[in-house]
Symmetry: C2
Subunit: 133 residues, 2 copies
DNA sequence: AAAAATAACTTATAACATAACGTAATTGTG
DNA sequence: CACAATTACGTTATGTTATAAGTTATTTTT
């Protein structure tokens, strides 16, 4: 089945893993142009979607950006703490909370298939310094 | 202080309140053009931002859309259950869960100022019917 | 009435995302 | 091995969402 051995996906994953912070799809394109000058948006968006489906990368909705998964165990629901001052993103996993969220939603008969939980604020470093701009 | 008595904000809020579901900024522009044909994106985005700051509307990050707040009490943190089949959005408030979320984040010294909690899945009606496409 | 403050208008463009269709590579089956 | 099936990727074009930057207008404060 004509996959070029998922080379594109590997490259994109590599790019994301080399960055501590999130990258927009176009940031990724920018990085990849150094290697594949002709790469176009659909290629990258498709690969990112596949990688996200496999749980290897996460999309941060409130930043319109992507980040490599920090955890080996895949397909887990994550909580992201996003520092609005320095841009640092901390991923954590809290199964108990997700049960709670699903329970709240489930009270009206809702079935949850995907969680988006993104907390904005200040990381410990930025918070300690006494506020951003 | 040169506000046209916040007329634009009122109009936009009215538009959002007349719709059960979320509207994109450009959907709002489309509605408003019937009244104010010359309205441009920045006007709408600014008003939406102000309204969101006041807690009168919420931005659904994962839909890139806006919805009127269902609760009179403002500035509360909300959970949104979004049906991926019919588009229905249910807003609920669960202070306990937010404490839990803040606690998880706070373990690494993070201070939360804004919550984005959006659950995707199937509402009771769509779930009962036996799945979407 | 002048100054201050904020909202809105305007123009232009930036940033993000996908539709639609074509091509290439790999694998399973006959 | 040939060939269909499947999936990744390429290509072109366009659609959608969002903001920068500078101007104008309205209302309140002084």
């Amino acid at each position: 089945m004509g996959k070029r051995s998922n080379e594109m996906q590997s490259q994109i994953l590599e790019v994301l893993r080399c960055h501590r912070g999130p990258l927009s799809a176009y940031d990724v394109i920018g990085e990849l142009r150094q290697v594949s000058p002709k790469i176009a948006p659909p290629t990258v968006y498709r690969a990112l979607e596949t990688l996200a489906g496999r749980g290897l990368v996460h999309r941060l909705e409130s930043l319109k950006a992507f980040i490599a998964c920090r955890y080996a165990e895949r397909q887990h629901a994550s909580i992201f703490a996003i520092c609005d001052n320095c841009g640092a993103v901390e991923e954590s996993s809290a199964p108990d909370l997700f049960k709670g969220l699903s329970r709240v939603a489930g009270q009206s008969g809702f079935t949850v298939t995907r969680h988006v939980v993104e907390l904005h604020g200040l990381c410990s470093l930025c918070g300690a310094r006494g506020m951003p701009a």
